[in-house]
Symmetry: C2
Subunit: 136 residues, 2 copies
DNA sequence: GTCCATTTGTCCGTATGTATC
DNA sequence: GGATACATACGGACAAATGGA
């Protein structure tokens, strides 16, 4: 098993996040598959549950995993993407939603929003996990 | 002073995050201004420093504040925005960067990246706090 | 339906390290 | 050196929701 180095420069919880991220991005943990439970990870690596939660929190903010409480933590499953066409003169930015916006649009953690601004200044917000913009 | 309701349905750290977010969005705490220290917030509201850190962590993931350790926690100052023109057929998405990408591009916490994909499939990433895309 | 084990969420306390002023 | 402030890591406790026996 991959190991954690307590004497390393990098924080322990970041090392654990790196390990789990690698397992996800390598495909060893596929979309929809559960991560080991927090208790299991803590025991396996000799860490406190607090530290394990920090690591998983990191992956949550990166949008790599979602939590279905209390069933477990799962590798995020990609949403079907809808393509939206940009009109002339429109600008596009991205930012994190506020807590209120997250609930309103039912956004998962770690999912930004795309903000489209018309030349008149009107803004529309799109969930970045379900929308792609295109210049035709 | 605004109060925390321990009997409320909403978690205490979320209530504190709400209070601080309101003070930022109302302009009472302007860009570049420091938040009260974690210890100060803990004492003022009768909370543990752990809980205060949870609240501030929430605002960090929302990109509302930045931490300059150990000077303090500050309301994020908007970056100068560079406008990038989209070519025909390009697609635009957004996602959170991984930890490695964050360090590579010197991205602040809570800042997504804009991902531009050419028709050939080449991807370029832009920090969403410094770049806006436009369809001319 | 009830009981119980599992799992995540929340909150507290403590300690130590590191960088700044 | 000392005080301040954030970062990391540990520990414990209880709550809430799920799922299986």
């Amino acid at each position: 098993m991959a190991m954690i180095d307590h004497s390393a420069d990098r924080a322990v919880f970041r090392q654990l996040a790196d390990l789990l991220r690698d397992r996800i991005q390598s495909g060893e943990l596929g979309p929809g598959e559960p991560l080991p439970s927090e208790l299991r990870l803590a025991q396996d690596h000799g860490l406190s549950r607090t530290t394990v939660r920090q690591a998983i929190g990191q992956l949550r903010t990166e949008g790599l995993v979602t939590v279905d409480r209390p069933r477990g933590t799962f590798v995020r499953v990609p949403e079907p993407v809808q393509v939206v066409t940009l009109a002339r003169g429109e600008h596009v930015g991205a930012r994190m939603p506020t807590d209120a916006e997250r609930r309103k649009h039912r956004l998962g953690e770690g999912v930004p929003v795309l903000v489209v601004t018309t030349p008149e200044g009107t803004e529309t917000v799109h969930p970045a996990d379900r929308v792609q913009l295109t210049r035709p």
